[in-house]
């Protein structure tokens, strides 16, 4: 475990060396959520709520969804694709280190710094707009919300890893990444809370794992999900982690058999 934590530390130092670049990535992740609160707030015009969401709920929802997106978002598909296509994977195969875990802990180096920064920005947002951000009434809700960030990160990371190792067979994975990005945008609740969508879209969202990358954690924070439903979602999220993890392990092993390590 020490070697993986060392990777996390090294990567955190690397990101701190390129502070401007890291700040840009954080702003990119947050900026995607900026327009939607204003769109929904402009729709209220005198109404008390939209589909059960008050003005405070909708602003809080997007602030929390942005936080979860930043915490869960992974860049591992690009790194994995380059390692496979350029032969960079060779060095990892000869080292006593698990390739997937080193990627995950490397990504954590960025997350640790980014989450501190986003917490500071969120605190500033709360101080600037106290009437628009609703904190949970129970402290345990915050604890449960933070716990849900773990499967969110793992699910996002595993999906990105699977896209990256698709390079073993199809080479360039840009199109696959774009398709995942579009599906993720719809089903993680970034465009709108999932229960705003038509029933068919809600059904699809319930079947797919993307709702755990934004919508479900945000709903937990808003205390719109509680008790048995939280337990049910926790179990489903963990099942997704197990399923994606198993599939990734099998696919990676299969891919290594096809890997030639010469670089493309």
């Amino acid at each position: 475990m020490n070697k993986y934590l060392k990777i996390t530390g090294n990567n955190a130092e690397r990101h701190l060396a390129y502070r401007f670049r890291m700040m840009v990535w954080i702003i990119v992740d947050i900026l995607q959520f900026v327009m939607f609160p204003f769109i929904w707030l402009s729709i209220f015009s005198g109404r008390a709520d939209i589909a059960g969401f008050t003005k405070e709920d909708i602003v809080t929802y997007y602030v929390v969804a942005a936080f979860v997106a930043l915490a869960a978002h992974s860049h591992v598909s690009r790194i994995t694709r380059m390692d496979i296509m350029e032969g960079g994977l060779n060095q990892w195969l000869t080292k006593p280190i698990n390739y997937y875990l080193q990627n995950m802990f490397r990504e954590l180096g960025y997350k640790v710094i980014a989450i501190f920064l986003i917490l500071a920005v969120t605190a500033l947002a709360y101080l600037a707009l106290p009437n628009y951000i609703r904190l949970p009434q129970a402290v345990s809700t915050i604890f449960i919300f933070l716990l849900f960030l773990v499967p969110a990160y793992l699910i996002a990371h595993l999906i990105e890893f699977l896209i990256g190792i698709a390079s073993f067979w199809i080479g360039e994975t840009g199109a696959l990444s774009n398709i995942k990005s579009i599906i993720n945008t719809v089903f993680n609740g970034k465009l709108a809370p999932i229960h705003f969508f038509p029933p068919l879209v809600q059904l699809a969202a319930g079947i797919l794992p993307f709702q755990y990358l934004g919508y479900i954690p945000a709903q937990i924070f808003l205390e719109n999900i509680s008790g048995p439903d939280i337990a049910r979602h926790a179990l489903i999220a963990l099942l997704w982690v197990a399923a994606l993890g198993t599939f990734a392990a099998l696919a990676y092993r299969r891919g290594l058999r096809a890997y030639e390590g010469v670089g493309i």
Binding site: L31, F38, I43, A175, I182
Partner: protein, 262 residues
């Protein structure tokens, strides 16, 4: 001018030859684009399932705004998309030296090296959608409005080009800033929606420092009567100003360029 036309024709021919090797990739990108258009339509439908109007804009007007945004973005991608964003790599790797020694403007080469053939097909689809919108809904557009629309889209392309050029020109001084293109792309994406929903301060930003309003909002506003016809003069003025600033900045950077060598 003849030299530039001839050079550009060769660059386009090279691009088409290159893209012809990746026919499967073209179909995949087509499918991805269709999925993305469906997502945009779903977003608008979900919003309008809760309201008859958004920031004073009706559903068909928001569709028009989005299509104008798509067309302007596609034209930019077609001619300049994959080119200017390579500038940080070109400067950092010292390849800019090769652009300087050629008997043609380095800015021209940096801007036009690759022509995206895939954008031609996508633009075709977007024009069909625009035509369908025009026939399906009554925008009560006069001949003047219709004549102004292409000009306003060209202004949008010019502003987009200027901003991307200015951001990438920073690479002459700062290393590893290629992700500023992602920053602009995300900001630019926000221009798909009516900026009239934004509070006053952000609206000012959308027309000045982060000019996302010109991509879809201004052309659609003029065409639908949300803005008077002379509002088009603002777009033309802004485009001229941004273009002049971008080209001046690039020339300033070029004068201060010292080769990175290899």
């Amino acid at each position: 001018m003849k030299q530039y036309t001839k050079t550009y024709r060769v660059l386009v021919e090279n691009s088409i030859s290159y893209m012809a090797q990746y026919r499967k990739d073209t179909w995949i990108k087509f499918a991805t684009n269709a999925l993305w258009l469906a997502m945009l339509a779903l977003t608008i439908e979900v919003i309008f399932s809760f309201t008859p109007e958004l920031g004073g804009w009706e559903r068909h007007e928001v569709y028009l705004l989005t299509v104008f945004w798509l067309i302007a973005d596609e034209i930019f991608v077609m001619f300049f998309g994959g080119n200017i964003t390579e500038l940080p790599n070109i400067v950092t790797d010292g390849k800019f030296d090769l652009y300087l020694v050629k008997p043609i403007s380095p800015l021209f080469l940096v801007s036009t090296r690759f022509f995206s053939l895939n954008s031609v097909w996508r633009l075709g689809i977007q024009m069909i959608i625009l035509a369908w919108l025009g026939l399906r809904f009554d925008f009560t557009a006069s001949v003047w409005h219709i004549a102004l629309a292409p000009l306003l889209i060209l202004c949008a392309v010019a502003i987009d080009y200027s901003i991307v050029l200015m951001l990438n020109t920073l690479s002459f001084w700062f290393h590893r800033i290629d992700n500023v293109n992602d920053l602009w792309q995300v900001a630019h994406d926000l221009g798909k929606y009516p900026v009239s929903v934004l509070p006053k301060t952000l609206k000012i930003f959308a027309f000045t420092l982060v000019p996302i309003a010109f991509s879809g909002y201004v052309p659609a506003a003029v065409l639908t009567g949300h803005w008077p016809l002379y509002g088009a003069a603002l777009a033309v003025g802004a485009a001229a100003m941004f273009l002049l600033a971008a080209i001046s900045f690039f020339r300033f950077a070029q004068k201060h360029y010292s080769s990175a060598s290899s």
